[in-house]
Amino acid sequence: MRYKTEQLQGFALVAPSILAVLIFVYGFIGWSMRVSLSQWKGLLPDYTWVGLQNYLNLFKDPRFHIDIRNTVIFTLLFVGGSLVLGLLLAILLDQGLRGEGFFRSLYMFPLAISFIVTGVVWRWLMNPAQGARLSGLNLIFDSLGLDFLISKWHTTPQWGIAFIAIPAIWQMSGYTMALYLGGLRAIPDSLREAARVDGASELQIYRRIIFPLLSPITLSAMIILGHISLKVFDLIIAVAGKQLPLDVPAIYMWTTTFDGNFYGRGAAIGILLLLSVAVLVVPYLRYNIKQEAEL
């Protein structure tokens, strides 16, 4: 009998949080879905049913096509770049050199600052002015004789979004480095030792033993960074403001809803973003929960 009351008490203690998440996450998602199926335009709510019209319009909308293209380019470069750089840094730091802790902390400090701060600084480092008004990184390339690196950065026609990946990698590669470093440290030295005794070269040890053991980490990192990438918003705003060539779904959602009052369309973009994130995250959560249950 006592056990039952105790369980009830436990439930009562978490009930407010559960209720809050139920309302603010799931209830609000449902509400957004309803808005996305309505013709709500303008300041006053209008829930007149229009079915999937807002979604169909988006799929025909040239601006949304730009958004999808930009998201794909940005995601490939940002996730790929962070993974490669993080892995390289982790391998370097795993060599048992002196000062390792110092370098590790240095590579990770951008994680503590906001995308807005990062964006404001990189906006000037990536100043696209040419000729006599050269500045920022272009100025350094010029003085080092590396003129071929001088770039229009995020103002490059068609490919501007690719350059936004640079500050994003700057900010997040410390994270993948930390994940990989943890993975490398978990591999017992005896495994490498045994391979060396068998005559394997260092390169072979990495290719045949270490990289395969790190692949679950790569998968986790891809999912975490991938979902950050789909949501990218503040960094682009801070580097370049709202500009059509650098538009992404999160910015479109914001401007169309709160500047343009196209609530139905804004909600539809929000729901599409949610679906794309869910495709990544739900299997990942299920896998993690299952693993935990097996422990």
Partner: protein, 274 residues
């Protein structure tokens, strides 16, 4: 450490230092620009070291940002404290005082930390308007506390799961109630987790832009929105923006420098198993 790993490989410092430059350059440019006098500031000489130390830029930036720094403090302190209390209680129940279905509910809580907030933004604004918290700091506090529930619960739950079951069982046999068990056994062990969650929520709320830009009115803008507004303005010079960016970064940077270990633990909690 096995022997072959300590072989002398000094050349490895070359890539390590080059990469260090990549990470440091933005901080370097913020600092040297910040310390220049207005007369020295010129985009074409932006890499040159300042001639003497001047505080013109910091002063100009601070005078504009000070009210917003204060808004951030008013927002972040209650949000972090309330979040960690909630997270601790939830984590305790979900790890060590389970009710039937607790393990089913947990993943549904967790999903909340991954959602793109664009998918709840319109209802959130409507809701805050309806309860008269739109535009102010308290609406943002509430938002950060609620959307922080998943990560804070996760962090505490994982930590409490490492507390031996026997400890809780024996307290129960001695007749301790639920809250007594929490206060006497788990709470005294929780300090490290409280530090992790406090600084995690502090950093998340300090760095947030999306909620702030949508939910707060200009006089209540926290630092991120004010800084972005400064950067988008044609009137405010880039050197003042740099100084402003540095000022905005100081609090979380200090947390990272002095409590880095705890910061990293929070970061790794976000990757679940990591």
């Amino acid at each position: 450490m096995t022997l072959p790993r300590v072989r002398r490989r000094h050349w490895l410092y070359i890539p390590l230092v080059l990469m260090a430059l990549f990470y440091v350059i933005p901080v370097y440019i913020m600092l040297i620009t910040g310390f220049k006098s207005f007369a020295e500031v010129d985009l074409q000489t932006m890499w040159r070291l300042p001639q003497g130390i001047h505080f013109d830029n910091f002063r100009a930036a601070f005078s504009q940002l000070a009210p917003h720094l204060w808004n951030s403090v008013r927002l972040v302190v209650p949000a972090a404290i309330l979040s960690s209390i909630l997270g601790s209680l939830n984590g305790f129940v979900l790890a060590r005082w389970k009710f039937p279905g607790a393990d089913v509910i947990f993943p549904f809580l967790l999903f909340g930390m991954f959602i793109p907030y664009q998918s709840i933004l319109i209802p959130l604004v409507q809701f805050m308007r309806s309860i008269n918290l739109y535009g102010g700091v308290w609406g943002l506090v509430l938002t950060h506390v609620i959307y922080g529930i998943p990560i804070t619960t996760l962090t505490f739950r994982n930590y409490y799961a490492s507390v031996p079951k026997e400890l809780i069982e024996s307290a129960r046999i001695d007749g301790a109630t639920m809250m007594q068990t929490y206060r006497r056994i788990l709470l005294p062990l929780s300090l490290p987790s409280f530090v992790v969650v406090l600084i995690w929520q502090f950093t998340a709320a300090w760095n947030d832009f999306l909620f702030a830009v949508v939910l707060s009115s200009p006089e209540n803008w926290p630092i991120t929105v004010a800084l972005n507004n400064m950067a988008g303005s044609q009137i405010i010079a880039w050197n003042v923006q740099m100084a402003g960016a540095f000022i905005a970064a100081i609090p979380t940077l200090l947390v990272y420098i002095f409590l880095g270990r705890y910061f990293l633990r929070g970061l790794m909690a976000g990757a679940l198993k990591g």
